[in-house]
């Protein structure tokens, strides 16, 4: 039936393991912040911070994105997922790769283990890319959201191959730029090309849908798309060739692209018919407010003022942390409440619809816990950020402890949703 996507949704067995692994990975990440707070107050290239970073971007963020995309592709492209089997194999490989790579970084063991991890991750990504591309080809629905998603997947591929090249370059140098320039290149391909682009593609469709916003100016999305990708291409070329002016222009282009996107979201927010925001949407609004911080920080770093020169290291770590642990983590924490309950609700109640009283998806989790989670995340993240800026291990640790509690609440609610069983009286 045209326009009806629920008969295209994949089995929860494909999606749910991604959420479980992601939640556990985030718990480990927050525990590592408590155990080793000093990794946030040293030079930004230190092995343990690289370990935490890779566990965050692969084990938490990419893991959840893979799982969520398998669920959301039918909504956005209005077709069935190409292969559930490929998705399951990709999950196992990504999980193994994320664990092994983070472990190798933690011990700074650039040997066989790291190569194997990189290969696991590359195969996982290739399988994911095949799945998304084959699904996308089946869809006849042309849209800017689909273009964002397909381009994001291309950048993901570039990012993981760039990562492998970095590992090889560590032991057998063959690339011209410095290792620091290559790390920046690899990181930005992943953050902007993969994460930002994917988030924009998916959220530009879902957030107006959740808020019931209509008649939005989609030209802003096109401007976002071109400025973001042209800026990223220029940035990567310039970083590789050590061309600072090119890097500066690239940054302006990407910052402008994100401002165009934020303006699109603001328009959706103002035009929303559904005025009451639920807890998932409140946390999502917080995420986009957090996103303003790294935009400011990157401009400070590049067009920096002399007085800030001594603060470069904390600003770089704060920049990365606000994107990964702030903006993206907060958005996932919020959007979990907009996706996971529906996945489970459809599985449990699909055949009971219209046959008696059934709970609403919102009733599958505790809203009270989700509200405490929103506040504790905000407090924990602000303290962590303060600790990074002030280079205080104690503050970083305190922020980490509050984040551990936050993630415990998040995991409790996620498991409550996943393990939901219908009440006998509903039969």
């Amino acid at each position: 039936m045209q326009g009806v996507a629920s008969h295209n949704v994949p089995s929860p067995a494909v999606v749910v393991p991604h959420f479980i692994f992601g939640g556990l990975a985030l718990l480990v990440i927050s525990l590592l912040i408590v155990v080793e707070p000093s990794i946030f107050t040293q030079h930004f290239i230190n092995p343990k911070l690289l370990a935490v970073t890779h566990l965050t971007v692969l084990g938490w963020i990419t893991m959840i994105i893979f799982g969520a995309l398998y669920q959301l592709i039918p909504v956005i492209m209005e077709v069935k997922l190409y292969s559930e089997k490929l998705a399951k194999i990709s999950f196992i490989l990504l999980a193994l790769g994320a664990i092994c790579l983070s472990y190798s970084f933690w011990n700074f063991d650039i040997g066989t283990e790291m190569y194997f991890s990189a290969v696991f991750i590359i195969i996982a990504v290739v399988f994911f890319v095949i799945n998304v591309t084959a699904t996308s080809i089946k869809s006849t629905k042309e849209s800017i959201e689909r273009t964002f998603i397909v381009t994001a997947v291309v950048w993901l591929l570039f990012t993981v191959f760039a990562g492998l090249a970095l590992v090889i370059n560590l032991t057998h140098p063959f690339l011209k730029p410095t290792q620091v320039a290559l790390i920046k290149l690899h990181a930005h391909a992943g953050i902007i090309g993969w994460f930002f682009q994917l988030i924009i593609g998916v959220s530009s469709r879902l957030l107006p849908m959740f808020m019931v916003s209509h008649n939005l100016n989609k030209k802003k999305l096109k401007a976002t798309y071109y400025l973001l990708n042209l800026g990223l291409l220029l940035g990567i070329f310039s970083l590789y060739n050590n061309w600072q002016i090119g890097v500066n222009i690239a940054i302006i282009s990407v910052v402008l692209s994100i401002l165009f996107y934020l303006s699109f979201l603001l328009e959706a927010y103002k035009k929303r018919i559904r005025k009451h925001l639920d807890i998932g949407m409140k946390q999502s609004v917080l995420s986009f407010l957090i996103l303003l911080i790294p935009l400011l920080l990157i401009l400070l770093l590049v067009f920096g003022f002399n007085s800030l020169k001594n603060s470069t290291q904390p600003i770089i770590i704060a920049y990365g942390s606000t994107i990964v642990l702030g903006f993206i983590t907060s958005l996932i924490l919020g959007q979990t409440y907009k996706t996971l309950p529906f996945i489970i609700w459809l599985k449990v109640y699909r055949n009971r619809v219209g046959k008696g009283k059934i709970p609403l998806p919102k009733e599958l989790y505790s809203e009270k816990i989700a509200t405490i989670q929103l506040w504790s995340f905000s407090v924990g993240f602000i303290i962590l950020l303060a600790g990074i800026f002030m280079q205080s291990d104690n503050l970083v640790r305190l922020g980490g402890i509050i984040l551990v509690l936050t993630i415990l609440l998040y995991n409790y609610n996620s498991l409550k949703i996943i393990l939901h069983k219908p009440k006998k009286t509903n039969k």
Partner: protein
Amino acid sequence: MNTEDQNIFTLLKEVIDPELMVNIIDLGLVYGVRLDKDKKEIVIDLTLTSPGCPLGEVIIEDAQQIISKIYPNFKVKVNLVWEPAWSLKNLTPEGRIALGSV
């Protein structure tokens, strides 16, 4: 609108959009209802707030089940329509209150 059609409209108030948590009549999703006694058929013209809505099929099934329970000898058919596109104007005063759009 005759009494039977009115009755079907009232019954459809039991169908709740699981995301918006408002019934489909107050959301203004039902564009028309026709009961044909000769053909033993009930036709419901229904729209969704967004094309590709992941819960569209659930809403349709819910509507079919609820009407079929009261009219067991009738075939219930739901037409998904996109014209005119759903807008704020479709909401009833109760729907506006439920969404906070007043």
